[in-house]
Symmetry: C2
Subunit: 355 residues, 2 copies
Amino acid sequence: MKAHHVTLKDIARQLGVTVATVSRALKDYPDISPATKKAVLELATQLKYRPNPIALSLRASRSNVIGVVIPEIVHHFFSTVISGIMDVADQAGYSVMLCQTNESYQREVREAGTLLNSRVDGLLISLSNETEQYDHLQEFLDHGVPLVLFDKVCNELDVTKVIVDDYEGAFTIVEHLIMRGSDKIALMRGPTAASNSRLRLAGYAAALKKHGLPVREEYILECAGGVTYETGMRLTRQIMQLPDPPNAIFTVADPVAIGAITVLKQMGFHVPADVAVAGFSDWEMASVVEPALTSVYQPGFEMGQVSAMLLLEQIEMTQNGREIVPVTKTLPTKLMVRQSSARGGAAVPDMPGRV
Amino acid sequence: MKAHHVTLKDIARQLGVTVATVSRALKDYPDISPATKKAVLELATQLKYRPNPIALSLRASRSNVIGVVIPEIVHHFFSTVISGIMDVADQAGYSVMLCQTNESYQREVREAGTLLNSRVDGLLISLSNETEQYDHLQEFLDHGVPLVLFDKVCNELDVTKVIVDDYEGAFTIVEHLIMRGSDKIALMRGPTAASNSRLRLAGYAAALKKHGLPVREEYILECAGGVTYETGMRLTRQIMQLPDPPNAIFTVADPVAIGAITVLKQMGFHVPADVAVAGFSDWEMASVVEPALTSVYQPGFEMGQVSAMLLLEQIEMTQNGREIVPVTKTLPTKLMVRQSSARGGAAVPDMPGRV
DNA sequence: TTGAAAGCGCTAACAA
DNA sequence: TTGTTAGCGCTTTCAA
């Protein structure tokens, strides 16, 4: 038989009082007799009373739910971010409604609409690659719902943003490669449209410039067709056939770097002695497991935590009627260098295994 | 200025009718004059009216939300499952509320409570390793809320379950190793408590038996201290020091296998010629990228889809007052063998890169 | 100290 | 064809 959720009414009836009294007793209202309060509290626990959050939401126009929208959940980076978000939200008593857009602008609009509609108290969103219009997000602001952009952000909206310091990360690692003795450094970059990809290019160029090295067009390749292992292999074969091939490769992400290392080894190069390989990484252990790789670690978990905390702060401010002042938080990357340049390990497993 | 969500009342007022009329017009009620229907529809679109799901939930005692509880989101496997769940849910017009337990029983109980409380229409859950009591799940059944267990399931609950065919997967791959010529096959297994780990052991033993090979105690190691790369390295060093070392290693997950391969190469073995390595894998490309690895692919995305579809079916049945008949769906694994045994690649990157 | 009543947004049975 | 009314579960103002 279907158990029924116990309500204030149930308690009230059994105690011969009104729901109002029960409600007040449950919330430690000042003017309530100790006797009834005690009775109510006891019966409530006995009956396992739990307030109905939906009724609360309807009344208060707030849901204790935050919405999260990301391009793809099957991504070490994004799943790590979400993990950080969920831990913070959970701690603060918020639930998380998650949507993925699969990089589709249309779906992003739809999901955002659903969330706004569901009266989420705030929204955390990482934009899809297709997104170039922001009305669906402006709507949140119009309705006074706080909004925090993370990772994939845009300039068009004056809201709080949390990003990784791509410029500085690229600068640091390129400088590191130069210090190590590389003077011909190739770049395998991401899509020209993406903001973080552009920042990385800038950091790369700045580091070269600082050390008096030229920015050579033929050393800059775009990872067309996916930021993948295969792309890394293809571009590496291509670039090593140049009359004057690079002695270092800086890539946009782990898989590309690993693809590059694979091909370089196949071609008989010693990595990193002959050709050094470095890459942005969302897995802190990447360079430990694959010593041939020097990586710039991007703190996903921290990004999730910080984004969620900023959002929760803003939600609270909104509820207290205070004005929100947008900030942009830039998280530092971490340079991960293996000291021993022992022979390359076998592989970069993604995460601890299941079971 | 805070925009206000437009309600039926707004439309009614502007049109000089009652909310009931508006409500009916919006839902294509039979008895409604074409004139008012048209007027209502027009004003509704103009004002961008969207029904308030919270009010609907309160009224109908259903939320169009499904709850998902998993141990850890930062896992290729689980994030893939979630992706499958979300795609199906989205298609069916459901939202997803996600919780992670971090393998804590206590947190699992808490999160389940919150979800039940939030009146989710159904629950998808993969149990934490600590979970041995099921009252928190029984509560869902008591309240008539459908429940589907996936991956980490238990026998104590008579509900629908979706699992991977671990027995058959292990059997198949061990037989494959035997066919390839290995006659001394080690097993690096998961926790003795986990049901899937036990099934894999059984499949392993059965394959050996079928081919007249002994099950040797010293060849069976438990991955204590985490199903990780490090564990794979440690156990491999250990097992290769046996007086009569194995010529094949079957592991419980990618990272362990990769750790094993790394160590074997370091020790000067040729993989897979001298020692073959195989492992359960949640990344379909693992054996493509690391040709030294033969893997048993576990279909995470499909698991998510199937689980979600079964849950949605049951939700519908519940709403139509029909009885739910629990089923157990066992998904086949896929043997991934690289034909060319060319030299091992460099690494197994986890997923397509970000950017 | 407690009750009565209104209202959050919506639907549906019953009247008109 | 449309209006009235009640109610989903809860909080809160106003009365008593």
